[in-house]
């Protein structure tokens, strides 16, 4: 099942509802990075709260989405990693690197807002 991508203002929200195959994840990556340019998004939120497994491929793909979105001008926040998934990821040595994380959607939106303010100040 392909992941729906919602647009809210200049933020894209992708909520992963069921376990994804590697091919589906790659498709999500391509669609997201494409849409970031199409709608001139400034933020991307990826909700993974429905996932109970996060393997190295998924981690790498999330990282790829975040880095390439940043190159196209959008900041990415990964939302809703459950305690079990977080613990398993740390045990397996999987890292999201510089990708931002937030507890839930509220926090992610607040974080994007904060990020935007910081950028504006820099300008």
């Amino acid at each position: 099942m392909s992941v729906p991508i919602l647009k809210q203002g200049d933020v894209l929200i992708a909520s992963i509802q069921v376990a994804q195959t590697d091919a589906e994840l790659l498709a999500l990556r391509d669609r997201l990075t494409g849409q970031v340019g199409d709608v001139r998004a400034r933020g991307v939120i990826i909700d993974v709260s429905a996932l109970d497994v996060m393997d190295s491929f998924a981690t790498r793909t999330l990282r790829a989405i975040a880095y390439s979105s940043r190159l196209r001008g959008a900041h990415t926040v990964v939302v809703g990693i459950s305690p079990e998934v977080a613990f398993a990821m740390v045990q397996l040595g999987l890292e999201l690197g510089a990708v931002s994380t937030a507890l839930d959607l509220d926090d992610a939106i607040a974080q994007l807002e904060q990020h935007r303010k910081n950028e504006r100040r820099r300008e």
Partner: protein
């Protein structure tokens, strides 16, 4: 005969100690060098001993009754009564010539009874020695030559040491089990996650951190982060005495896992010695946000969330710094 006397718990202990296999029992018998010549001598001594077992048992508990240290044990009438019965069976089995798994299970039962009732090992050894002295005296009185009495006694002694080996092992095993149960209790007690402000948690760690505890601690913290929607966690390690590479890695894992859930972790209370150890070990703590003491950590956490704390009389009249957000 033994099976109906041995409870489920006794068998469980035997299994955990790895004493239920024929090979394990054989190795133990080999350790005391019990051979066929010994079995023949024991069979010869048997008739003399069986006539006196009541007397030996009474002597064993009489001996304990004389000792001040054993008073606590002797006051436990149920235990003493049961031990008396088991001791009688023990003496019969001791000269029975069958030293297999059933015999071992009976010894384990007696050993567990002693340790549950709080009979100290040295007291048991003292009383057992006295028991052997009595048996020796009987053998000496009934044998035709002193040499024969001595040989019979030494063969029986092998069985006695075989018994002591098992009973001591059981008592040590039981004691270790109590200790590990207490450690478990302490572990659970000392990993509270406390909320000190809305969305601000505190995790005071006290004592030593091993892999098991680090895991429980991390799991507890991650669930608390979700339940309290925490944004910042102050992890205080003032109470952690020793930190080595392993412990540091555990701390780093906890911090990374919390970050994956969107929470920032501030580590406080790394003492001068601990931080020097870490530097000497070459542990890379670059990924950690550390602040000297707990107070500083909480102040920093409040700042991150956007709290400003003032004393009531110093409260600024204007709304506090809205422009700073």
């Amino acid at each position: 005969m033994a099976n109906d006397l041995v409870s489920e718990a006794d068998s469980a202990v035997a299994r955990e100690m790895g004493l239920l296999s024929e090979q394990a029992v054989e190795r133990r018998l080999k350790a005391v060098a019990l051979g066929s010549a010994d079995l023949a001598r024991i069979a010869r001594a048997r008739q003399h001993i069986l006539g006196h077992i009541e007397e030996y048992t009474a002597g064993f508990f009489g001996y304990l009754g004389e000792l001040d240290d054993a008073r606590e044990f002797m006051r436990n009438r149920d235990a003493v009564e049961q031990a008396r019965r088991l001791k009688l069976e023990h003496l019969i089995a001791m000269v029975g010539g069958q030293y297999g798994t059933e015999y071992v299970q009976q010894r384990i039962k007696l050993g567990r009874l002693y340790s549950r009732a709080g009979l100290e090992m040295r007291l048991f050894l003292g009383a057992f020695h006295d028991l052997l002295r009595r048996i020796g005296a009987t053998l000496l009185a009934n044998a035709t030559t002193e040499k024969e009495a001595f040989d019979d006694f030494m063969s029986l002694n092998k069985v006695a040491f075989f018994d002591i080996g098992i009973i001591v092992d059981v008592m040590v095993f039981e004691r270790e089990r109590v200790i590990s149960r207490q450690q478990e209790a302490i572990r659970e007690l000392t990993t509270p996650v406390l909320q000190i402000r809305d969305r601000l948690l505190m995790l005071p760690i006290i004592g030593t951190i091993d892999t098991h505890r680090a895991r429980m601690l991390t799991e507890g913290l991650l669930h608390a982060i979700r339940a309290n929607r925490a944004r910042v966690v102050v992890m205080d390690v003032t109470g952690v005495g020793a930190v080595d590479t392993k412990v540091a890695n555990h701390l780093l894992q906890t911090v990374s896992a919390s970050r994956l859930m969107g929470a920032t972790v501030i580590v406080t209370g790394l003492s001068a010695e601990v931080s020097q150890t870490l530097v000497n070990l070459g542990v890379d703590l670059a990924g950690l946000q550390t602040i000297g003491d707990l107070q500083g950590g909480i102040e920093e956490a409040e700042r991150l969330i956007g709290y400003q704390v003032f004393r009531a009389e110093q409260r600024p009249s204007a709304p506090p710094f809205p422009s700073q957000v």
